[in-house]
């Protein structure tokens, strides 16, 4: 594990942004997620690792109720965002998703111009009063997604014409344009080459200043590089959750150790 460069871990924050208590998820008869208890901290990058099908993406999608769109999906337990129950009937999933943004595994820019892609969220949520404000948000978001220099001269050209890495950064810009409080990333680099991956990882580290970031990844190096907290899922259970350095160097659970040393997965 010496080759892994650990991110700086200044964990001054200990407040839980999202708290999960005994979360169970069923897809029809399939019990996909069992007894998950986790506190996701503010201004922290939390990585979810684990073998395919272990439930980490499912749990991620619970955090902004994206599972609502899947028929037959049932969620039990308590999930809170700033103390407010996410699955309370009074909570509007639409408003929740504005607060909890999401970036997907495959870059999925809308077939619109780069500008319209970024302006999509602010427009539907009515975040701006005029064109100048919208321009400002678009520029700010693209700058923070490290795409401004490449895209500023072609804001009107379609977002689908960008390269894979640029498209993924566009999707990140689109997600942060609505100023969410939590940013969920579902394997954001799995379709990208190493250079684009490095750019996105750098970006994630910068985003930590404003948001709480949750990232699902299959790359343990990536988890070690970008995150301060790591959760290891296996067969629908949260096996171990703790400070990233501790998980990778001194895991308490033998299953975690087998996974990070490549014996299971």
């Amino acid at each position: 594990m010496d080759d892994i460069r650990f991110a700086e871990r200044d964990l001054c924050v200990t407040e839980a942004k999202i708290a999960a208590r005994d979360v169970q998820v069923h897809y029809g008869t399939n019990h996909a997620l069992k007894d998950v208890n986790v506190d996701i901290l503010e201004q922290t990058v939390t990585a979810f690792i684990g073998p395919s099908g272990c439930g980490k993406s499912t749990f991620l999608r619970c955090l902004n109720r994206m599972n609502d769109t899947i028929p037959g999906c049932r969620i039990e337990g308590r999930l809170t965002l700033d103390g407010q129950d996410i699955y309370d009937p009074r909570v509007d999933p639409v408003q929740l998703r504005a607060k909890v943004g999401m970036v997907f595994q495959k870059p999925n820019p809308f077939p619109k111009s780069i500008y319209d892609n970024v302006a999509y969220g602010p427009r539907i949520h009515g975040l701006t009063r005029n064109k100048a404000e919208l321009d400002e948000i678009v520029e700010k978001s693209l700058r923070r997604a490290a795409l401004w220099e490449e895209a500023k001269d072609r804001l009107a050209s379609p977002g689908t014409g960008l390269s894979g890495g640029q498209q993924q950064r566009l999707c990140i810009a689109r997600a942060i344009a609505t100023s969410p409080e939590v940013l969920l990333m579902d394997e954001p680099c799995s379709a990208l080459d190493p250079i684009a991956t490095a750019q996105i990882e750098e970006l994630i580290d910068e985003l930590r200043a404003q948001f709480s970031v949750v990232i699902v990844t299959h790359s343990m190096q990536q988890a070690a590089r970008v995150s301060q907290r790591t959760a290891f899922f296996h067969l629908g259970r949260l096996v171990e959750y703790g400070e990233t350095g501790q998980i990778f160097t001194n895991p308490h659970d033998p299953r975690t150790e087998s996974y990070i040393s490549g014996r299971i997965g």
């Binding site: 943004g101 999401m102 077939p111 379609p158």
Partner: protein, 480 residues
């Protein structure tokens, strides 16, 4: 030998070729199929193809060429004033010639007896064996006898030529079989040509339709001024000639009815498609989609009856008469509404498929940003599906333009230029039917105008289709 038996014989030879070719291939390889270049079956196919295809092609060409050859020899024996008379006389000769065959069989006549038949008493005897002739002139009879002899001789030659070709190719194929012979390539090549031939049928038919339309249209414009046809605003065909055959009243009727139909069909169809693909549960969709598609299976004549009996009178009693817009139950509105209902499944079914083809990742992306379902549909899904939807609408438009039955029963047959949607009007297609089925002489402008109308219609739908293709290509969104 009759043609059916000949074809059967060739096919039996081909089947034998398959078995023999396969066996011979295995025998040359010493019974080990691994030493062969291709599978044993490929050698069988090779032999069968070679035995059947050249012979059958020869047969087809012969059958096409034989009547032409015979008739060019017979033609000088007939006296005729005009090409039309000549073709009538030739048809008589053909009928008598076939009749003689039937007569020879039913009355057991020898060849000499047939040759000595005289024309006086022949007509009733021919009618008895089922040949439709009124009278037999000596000239026609002698031509028919010559026709019959030539037919018989050529038939024998044909049987010999086809049989010889099949046998030669069959032997040639068997001799070619060696372990290193690439039989698979031949059979693959044959499959390719078969597919090309199948696609050519559609293309050639289109070309043929266009050519026949064009030639008749040119004929029409020789006897009726094109200026009048394209610029005159009256449609008033007279049986005694001197008609006004301006296309505009018909074109206007077509366009007016189609527009009303599209105004009905496009919004309803599109909203249905959005509901089915985005909102409906899988179960609802499972029965709703087929139920809507039943609409597409109703014959248009049934829609026409619906227009005539239900919609027309209802519109007249509740809208046209109270508003003082007309007293006719046939109206543009009736036909347009009913045609619109007919087109709903077209628009909805095609659009539904297109909307379903929009990747789920775009929906996820939009929902993930906190968009509502209707915002997602409006801002992401419809724009992404737009080119396909435009294609679907234009397809529906060409259906509307070509529709006939609903118009006949719903909108009437009066060619009029009017803006009142409750007035009876008619379309190009209806007039094509009425002009072609009228009692006028075929070579008159009143009949030939049907072809000019047909060509105009064809050009219109062609332009719409090309436009649809262009729009789809130009604005197609690359999802990834």
């Amino acid at each position: 030998m009759s043609i059916g038996i000949l074809v059967l014989a060739v096919l039996i030879l081909a089947a034998a070729g398959f078995v023999l070719g396969r066996q011979r291939a295995l025998a040359t390889a010493g019974g080990d199929p691994r030493r062969l270049h291709s599978l044993p079956g490929h050698y069988g196919q090779f032999t069968a193809i070679l035995a059947a295809v050249p012979a059958l092609v020869l047969l087809a060409i012969w059958l096409l060429a034989q009547p032409l050859a015979i008739e060019s020899r017979i033609a000088p024996m007939l006296t005729a004033d005009s090409p039309a008379d000549r073709s009538l006389a030739m048809a008589d000769v053909r009928r008598i010639s076939i009749g003689l065959d039937l007569l020879a069989v039913s009355d057991r006549l020898s060849e000499d007896a047939v040759a000595s038949l005289s024309s006086e008493t022949l007509a009733p005897r021919l009618r008895q064996v089922g040949t439709a002739v009124t009278q037999v002139t000596p000239e026609a009879l002698s031509a028919a006898k010559a026709h019959r002899t030539m037919r018989h001789t050529l038939q024998i030659w044909m049987t010999a030529a086809v049989g010889l070709t099949a046998a030669t190719c069959f032997v040639f194929a068997l001799l070619r079989i060696r372990p290193d012979f690439r039989a698979r390539n031949v059979s693959e090549r044959f499959v390719m040509w078969l597919l090309i031939a199948a696609s050519l049928v559609a293309v050639a038919t289109t070309a043929g339709i266009v050519l026949s339309l064009v030639s008749e249209t040119l004929h029409f414009f020789r006897i009726y001024p094109a200026r009048e046809f394209f610029l005159s605003l009256t449609w008033n065909p007279q049986f005694r000639g001197g008609s006004d055959l301006g296309i505009w009243p018909l074109l206007w009727g077509t366009v007016y009815i189609s527009i009303i139909a599209l105004i009905v069909a496009v919004p309803i169809g599109l909203l249905t498609a959005v509901y089915l693909s985005e909102y409906a549960s899988r179960r609802t969709r499972g029965w709703a989609k087929p139920a809507i598609e039943i609409l597409a299976g109703i014959p248009t004549i049934v829609y026409g009856l619906f227009a005539l009996i239900t919609v027309g009178p209802a519109l007249r009693d509740w809208f046209a008469q109270p508003l003082g817009l007309g007293a006719s139950s046939s109206s543009v509105m009736t036909a347009g509404l009913v045609m619109g209902i007919m087109l709903i499944p077209f628009v909805s079914s095609l659009s539904d498929d297109i909307i379903n083809a929009v990747p789920q990742s775009l929906r996820d992306g939009s929902y993930g940003l906190g968009a509502t379902q209707s915002e997602t549909v409006k801002l992401v899904i419809l724009p992404a599906a737009l080119p396909g939807i435009v294609g679907a609408v234009l397809l529906a438009a060409s259906r509307a333009i070509g529709e006939t039955m609903i118009v006949v029963l719903g909108a009437g047959a009066a060619a009029k230029l009017s803006l009142n949607p409750f007035e009876a009007m008619t379309t190009v297609t209806v007039k094509i039917v009425s002009q072609l089925t009228g009692d006028t002489e075929f070579a008159s402008p009143e009949t030939l105008v049907a072809f000019a109308l047909g060509l105009t219609l064809f050009v219109m739908t062609l332009v719409l289709n090309v436009l649809a293709l262009y729009i789809v290509r130009k604005y197609r969104e690359q999802y990834e």
